[in-house]
């Protein structure tokens, strides 16, 4: 089969995520899809798999226009997706065989009573065909991540699959497991399956693919055979975005050390990191998902326990055991997931802004509502949070304004150290610019900012220095001329195999 995308557009509200995508893939081909976070890879996957419908443009299969109104339509056409979060599609407490034949629409193994023996036999056969040799009566939860992924692949090819999309399939695999996966992907290709392979590891893209497609800002920035381009070309294509007025970074850092991490480790996350953030400085931490970069601020904030090293604030050694300790020491932490652990969405904007400062508005146990609301109103005004009032439910604000509420909670406290993890994830450009302005203002007041981000332009433009972390270790410290999107990416990805 040959799938062709012709000028695909996809909008969410004002936000146009796909802005005219043209590409094609056919049986016996592997197409590697690469691009930064937010470039549109996931949305494109969802359009192909029928989970989203394009606002404009057409999908063409073997010359005929098709329209997928729901994922089942795409499945009917032989399209399968193995998502990065593939474990969401498995039933952890059912056995391997039941997971494979959970639908069993044809009633192969009996309609009322399931013939377990026959089902397990069939499962065994299918699993061996993908090279997975496990007891089919085992609970899926007891399989390794790699085995679960193979199970998911077996499930996908148990029916007639013509196009298989793999989304970051090696994210959770080790080297051997990855190698085995590559073999299978090649074998499926040789059997005539068309494969779209989404990855951020360029080496994999170059090893596997027949052509490499780079997405940037919802457009195809490059579509070439790996034989005629170099990894550096791809990196340039991924990162080559123009830096607009988006990043108001005016403050010069001082040379007064504020936050000093010396040889700190957290078992299983990162090892022997030494990072100093001066007053007025923004230090970035870059790295791919799983590099351990997000665990650094969590540990400083008391959410993970350091297994080694020391933390000093303004020259004094800290012993932080809980978020409360961190807050009392003047440290703030903006979590990357505002919905799950940032905001109490059912409570008011005012309550959310003052959530970490309530003791300051409390005397003898009673909250002074007047001064609490006044303080919140001041933050709303200062940060330009668009809300009908401080009493409005936080959950009713837009993503960008919710993010500003979360930031406002910490701005209210005048933090000396501001830890941020993906502070602009999922917010629109206007809110992004506002958030960068807030960061700059905080540094002007002497705050030390530690910024973890996978948004490369943001890292490069906002940070005075960037430390690149790979497999839990600092591999580069980039500053001045040496600090660029390309250099961060190269260090983050280098020698993955």
């Amino acid at each position: 089969m040959r799938l062709q995308l012709d000028d695909i557009h996809k909008r969410f509200g004002e936000n146009e995520v796909l802005r005219g995508i043209d590409l094609s893939v056919e049986s016996g081909q592997i197409l590697a899809l690469v691009g930064e976070n937010g470039a549109g890879k996931s949305t494109l996957t969802r359009v192909i798999s029928g989970a989203h419908q394009p606002n404009a443009g057409v999908l063409i299969i073997d010359g005929d226009d098709v329209r997928f109104n729901k994922p089942q339509d795409a499945m009917g056409a032989g399209i399968r997706v193995i998502y990065q979060e593939f474990r969401q599609n498995l039933f952890p407490h059912l056995d391997v065989a039941q997971n494979l034949f959970v639908l069993d629409l044809g009633g192969r193994f009996g309609r009322l009573f399931v013939r377990r023996g026959a089902m397990r036999e069939a499962a065994k056969e299918l699993l061996l065909s993908v090279g997975l040799d496990v007891d089919t009566a085992r609970e899926v939860a007891s399989l390794s991540v790699a085995e679960q992924q193979q199970l998911e692949i077996a499930k996908a090819i148990s029916e007639d699959v013509k196009l298989l999309i793999l989304d970051e399939p090696t994210a959770a695999l080790d080297e051997t497991e990855s190698g085995f996966l590559f073999e299978q992907v090649r074998r499926l290709r040789d059997e005539g399956v068309a494969i779209v392979y989404i990855t951020h590891r360029l080496k994999e893209a170059f090893d596997l693919a027949d052509h490499v497609v780079v997405l940037r800002d919802g457009k195809v920035a490059m579509d070439e055979s790996p034989d005629v381009v170099t990894e550096a070309d791809v990196v340039t294509a991924m990162a080559g975005r123009t830096v607009e007025d988006l990043y108001p970074r005016h403050t010069q850092p001082t040379d007064r050390p504020r936050l000093e991490l010396t040889d700190v480790s957290v078992a299983g996350a990162f090892e022997s990191l030494s990072i100093t953030v001066h007053a007025g400085e923004v230090v970035g931490i870059g790295g791919v998902a799983g590099s351990g970069k997000g665990e650094v601020p969590r540990a400083v904030f008391g959410l993970r326990r350091f297994t080694g090293g020391s933390v000093q604030l303004d020259g004094k050694t800290l012993d932080i055991r809980s978020p409360r300790d961190a807050i009392d020491a003047g440290i703030a932490y903006v979590t990357p997931d505002r919905q799950a652990e940032g905001l109490a969405l059912g409570q008011s904007v005012g309550d959310n802004i003052t959530l970490a400062s309530l003791p300051e508005f409390t005397s003898a146990g009673w909250v002074a509502r007047g001064s609490q609301r006044a303080a919140a109103a001041k933050i709303v005004e200062q940060l330009g949070i668009r809300t009908s009032s401080v009493d409005a439910e936080a959950g009713q604000l837009s993503g960008g304004n919710q993010q500003k509420v979360l930031l406002g909670r910490w701005v209210l406290r005048d933090p000396t150290v501001l830890l941020m993890d993906e502070p602009t994830r999922g917010v629109d450009v206007a809110a992004k610019a506002d958030i960068y302005k807030i960061i700059d203002e905080q540094t002007r007041e002497g705050a030390a900012v530690l910024l973890v981000s996978s948004d490369l332009p943001e890292l490069v433009a906002m940070c005075d220095r960037v430390i690149v972390v790979r497999h839990g270790r600092a591999v580069a410290e980039l500053t001045g001329e040496a600090l660029s999107e390309q250099s961060v990416l190269e260090h983050a990805l280098e020698s993955e195999s």
Binding site: G57, A344, G346, V367
Partner: protein, 331 residues
């Protein structure tokens, strides 16, 4: 109707149901709208209301306390036994201590052992109810202490004492929930415990304190019932936890946590009492009364769950030219 309801807070939705039931009863029987009968309604609701008040804190925290009835029974019996040899004050303090201790154990089980509150308090319900039966050998314990009996039987200013206690309790704890730092923390933790933790809120302590409040108010409920009857019945609390939870839910507090208010719970408890009273006045079989109460709970939760959908549906009806989301064909 939906729109009007929507304009009131979700906690006050129950007031429409209360008015509806009251109007029906007013039409159906002349005995309903008399001062004496109305006081009876509230008097009968007082015990449930106090249990439900504590339960409200727990449910806003997205937890549940199934042991309130058992705590109530144990505290009532404990007070009656202590009153045999000791004074009023000693007995009262001891009874409160029983409630506080039971609540503390609930809270510790839920926070420190990470047990789901449904399981922990279900087990505690069994333990405490069994303990009460073991202590009393299943026999009621009589009370002769006049100061204690006054809790249930005195009528200051013509209003039964349990009603005064209930009103005072709701004022104090209502204010605590709405205006104290602890109260604000209850909402925040119930809405998003992780966000609360990351804001430095002592999540475990907030939960433990809520369970203690639930235990103490259950004990007070036990005192009232014991004082009204003049004896402590070891099985007095059986089933009371369900009535208390029903009152909280009817009162608009969300089982998902983060939303609710004590005023709604008060209305919910009085509504349940009114239905009881009305069905009695109308000579409806007591067996059928439970059926009616169950239906009222279903109706209240149905309205709660679907009010968003209902008002959205209502909002769509008069808009025939609403913009479609289906993209026009580009071919």
């Amino acid at each position: 109707m939906t729109r009007t309801v929507g304009m009131l807070g979700r906690e006050l939705r129950a007031i429409w149901m209360l008015l509806l039931v009251a109007i029906v009863l007013f039409i159906a029987t002349p005995d309903f709208l008399t001062t004496g009968n109305l006081l009876n309604v509230v008097l009968a609701a007082a015990t449930t209301a106090l249990l439900a008040a504590g339960q409200t804190f727990v449910i806003i925290l997205a937890e549940i306390d199934l042991s309130v009835g058992a705590i109530m029974g144990l505290a009532g019996v404990a007070v009656a036994i202590v009153l045999k040899d000791h004074g009023f004050l000693t007995a009262l303090l001891l009874g409160l201590l029983v409630g506080a201790l039971a609540g503390l154990i609930n809270g510790l089980l839920v926070t420190k052992t990470r047990m789901p509150s449904f399981i922990a308090t279900l087990a505690m319900m069994s333990v405490l109810a069994g303990l009460t039966l073991r202590i009393t050998e299943g026999n009621p314990v009589a009370v002769n202490n006049d100061s204690f009996l006054a809790i249930g039987q005195a009528k200051p200013l013509g209003v039964p004492a349990p009603i005064w206690i209930m009103v005072a309790g709701f004022l104090v704890f209502g204010f605590l929930l709405a205006r104290s730092q602890f109260g604000r923390y209850v909402y925040a933790v119930g809405d998003n415990a992780e966000a609360a933790r990351l804001s430095g809120i002592p999540v475990d302590r907030v939960k433990i304190l809520a369970f203690v409040i639930s235990g103490v108010l259950s004990a007070v409920g036990g005192f009232i019932l014991t004082a009204r009857l003049g004896t402590a019945q070891p099985t007095a609390g059986a089933g009371m936890e369900l009535a208390a939870i029903a009152a909280v839910i009817i009162g608009g507090t969300s089982l998902a946590g983060g939303r609710g208010a004590l005023i709604g719970t008060a209305i919910g408890a009085v509504l349940l009492g009114t239905i009881d009273n009305g069905l009695n006045l109308l000579n409806v079989s007591p067996f059928l009364q439970d059926v009616v109460k169950g239906l009222v709970i279903l109706f209240a939760v149905f309205i709660d769950r679907n009010s968003g959908a209902l008002s959205r549906a209502a909002a769509h009806i008069p808009r025939p030219h609403s913009r479609g989301t289906v993209p026009s064909s580009t071919n």
